[in-house]
Symmetry: C2
């Protein structure tokens, strides 16, 4: 079993808190600007989207190694959406658009396979209850 621990300290009289994780940079957290927070601080919603996006990359890298894919670059952009429901605001979905730069067109189907495996095994995207769509765009150099 693995365990992940964070700790939070509210700044009284504000809507800001410090989010800490042992030995790592502390993050100032506020609500999203649309709900009165600061534009230069991470919101919990941003963190959730970034957690899924980054876990997909790290899981994909495992399969990139296993399938011996010549991956020269990997970038992604993730967008999560939230809508009002009778039970309050709820995440409704997320799309991660991956741009992978490959050494050869031969690696394209293997990269598709690595992404499919990442979607299946990524522990963070499998921890959310809304659909996560991954779109793979490949560039060969």
């Amino acid at each position: 079993m693995h365990s992940f621990i964070t700790s939070l300290k509210w700044k009284p009289g504000t809507e800001e808190a410090d989010l800490a994780c042992d030995g790592k940079p502390t993050l100032a957290i506020t609500p999203p600007p649309a709900f009165g927070g600061k534009a230069d601080c991470w919101s919990p919603e941003d963190l959730l989207v970034g957690a899924v996006e980054s876990c997909l990359l790290l899981t994909a890298l495992y399969f990139v190694g296993k399938l011996k894919i010549r991956l020269n670059a990997y970038r992604s952009r993730a967008e999560g959406t939230m809508a009002k429901t009778p039970n309050g605001l709820r995440f409704t979905g997320m799309t991660v658009t991956v741009t992978a730069t490959l050494a050869s067109p031969d690696d394209v189907p293997k990269m598709q396979q690595a992404i499919a495996q990442a979607e299946k095994f990524c522990p963070v995207s499998n921890a959310v209850n809304y659909p996560v769509k991954v779109v793979l765009e490949t560039v060969t150099v």
Copy 2:
């Protein structure tokens, strides 16, 4: 509808990536140390746990205001657990232990109510598919 966007750039040849969110500090992300990552970098798993923990606070603050609770301090500690399953690693649960410092014992039941409402309405804790347990400890000064 609200939208949250992050972007990720892998550092080729490593298991590290930069996670960006417009106008906010960029975070270096690696796997957890148990999976070969760096102890001084946030992992996707840490971000997920911190997202739930911080969203619970921000949602609770809304009800703290509504219920006119005299809250002097709020700290929490969150622990998420992940275990191996036939489908790979999966989050199995999370506990958030909140310590709230209140101006008066009269505020204790109201704070319990604020936390219960936060559990019900927090969009991030409601976006995960594993149980999130919140334990409230109150201190009155």
